[in-house]
Amino acid sequence: MTRSRAVFLTALAAIVIASAGGVASAWSAPFGEPHPATNLSASGLSGWIFAEQAAFYRSLSGFIRAAKDDGAAMWELFGVSLVYGVFHAIGPGHGKAVISSYLVANEETWRRGIVLSFVSAGIQSIVAIVIVAIAAVLLGTTAKVIGLTVHLVEIISYALVILIGLRLLYVKGRGFLIACRALTWRRTPDLAFAAAPAAVTLSTQAFRVPARRPGAMTMRGGQCQIEGCTAQVHGFHCHDDHDHHESAWGHAHGPEPAMLAGAGGWRRGLAAVVAVGLRPCSGAIIVLIFALAQDLFWTGVGATLIMGLGTAITVAAIATVAVSARQVAGRIARARAGLGILAMRAIEIGAAALIVAFGAMLLAGYMASEQLWMFTG
């Protein structure tokens, strides 16, 4: 138990540090020089991070210029790009929220979380490079066209995020309901859930069920009341021979560990990271075009890829926190059979709902999404 407590404390500490970085990142740089009589009550660390990332970004142009005359300056540029990527990813975008929610909802391992973070950041860099390569280098289009392209890609990305969230919500909602029913009903509700997945409509249908049966979640002494079932490591694994039980659990809880490692599992994870990674970072686009204007397109490509690496480090760190938090929660849940597992299912549903919410908010208002077209149409 001491080990799990240590993990918990580590996770908590990481969250505090990360939130310190997040909470105040909206201030500092935009306001020019601070007023002499400033009130520095907000976290110094987060302000520092935000100021640093703005400073790094602004220094990039100088390093790109220097790289034109001096090959050694290129390495400095790459170094700065890496650090900028790390700091920059604390700001909006870069899929931290969606990836973390996805990992929590899908009961993923930290290893997978890290891989998915790196893949999504890699895709993000490559999308920016491909857009600039085609639109600017090959076609010589204007910033307006590039802005519209980015805009279109963003919309596709957000729509995909919503779809993935809805699918997860459906799967997890089903899992939750099955866990609920399992606690009270002796009969397996195979009829209600036998239908093939059709995310949107079915998820709403699924949510209606508990409303009809208030108080369905009665438990006795934290014991699973279903016959032949014991509350075990990953939720309810029924050891009786009822086939319909098995199928119901298997689908509702998300993939079994063996399936995760398989090709199907990776492909599913890939859908999420592609959806997130599709949206290019406007900072990368600007850097690439600036480099192109200096006849240093390939240097810009290198800097963008390294920036992506920095972004991946931050996203992976936050994803690891999310996965750890979930694992700690899972460990505790295991100790409290019935309610604990219900709580885990609820957390998964919450995380899936968050993915939908993020996608919807992004799509509806582009929120703080980076409006490259502010000046260029």
Binding site: F8, A26, W27, T142, G283, F290, A329, L354, F375, T376
Partner: protein, 213 residues
């Protein structure tokens, strides 16, 4: 313990959602503004000169055809200048004026053009007031509430007056760092936008004050 875990998860999710809502500047503008006066001593408008940072300048110039490498004439940049002012309309030209505390309205910009001084683009434009305003205290603010654009006064010559009565004096005020409470509101701007009558954004404004006693 389970409570604490839930708490932990809640913090994490909150952190992730808060993070989403923050903007960071990708465009830096150093600006000079000139307050324009009519012969009768009333304010008629503001003439801006906005200098964009080098990276954004390169971005905006992408694909603009020009005869000489590294040089852009005013004519070559005319379509881009048109796009600029058209796009800025949606953002009220990031310029907000008050005469003795009363809000003033601007009409569409006139006399707008782009100038390229390697490595920066400079956008010149004049914002006429809908109706000339005579005021003892005139306040003009320049800022982007969404913080995508970072506005800062030009160091050498931030503000000037054109045709103002001799007793008028122009001063300017830099924005202060937001307090913790202001910061908290700031991070929610995108989730809970300000209502149009709110004066919240003012705390991040670059303020020009003209007093004509």
């Amino acid at each position: 313990m389970i409570k604490r875990t839930c708490c932990c998860c809640a913090i994490l999710l909150l952190l992730l959602s808060v993070n989403r809502a923050e903007a960071h500047p990708h465009v830096w503008v150093t600006f000079h503004s000139e307050v324009l006066y009519a012969a009768d001593g009333s304010v008629t408008g503001v003439r801006h000169a906005w200098t964009f940072d080098d990276m954004f300048s390169a971005y905006a110039l992408q694909g603009i055809s020009h005869a000489k490498k590294g040089q852009y004439t005013r004519e070559e940049l005319a379509p881009l200048a048109q796009t600029n002012v058209d796009s800025l309309k949606e953002y009220d030209y990031f310029t907000y004026a008050r005469a003795d505390g009363k809000k003033l309205k601007f009409t569409e910009p006139v006399d707008y053009w782009l100038e390229y001084k390697n490595p920066s683009l400079i956008l010149h434009f004049t914002l006429p007031l809908k109706a000339p305003a005579a005021a003892k205290a005139m306040q003009i603010e320049v800022y982007d509430p969404s913080i995508f654009v970072d506005f800062a006064f030009a160091k050498d010559k931030p503000v000037s007056l054109s045709g103002a009565p001799p007793q008028c004096l122009a001063t300017y005020d830099l924005p202060h760092q937001p307090t913790a409470a202001e910061q908290a509101r700031l991070s929610q701007l995108d989730a809970t936008p300000l209502d149009p009558s709110s004066t919240y954004g003012e705390i991040f404004a670059n303020k020009i004050l003209v007093k004509c006693p």
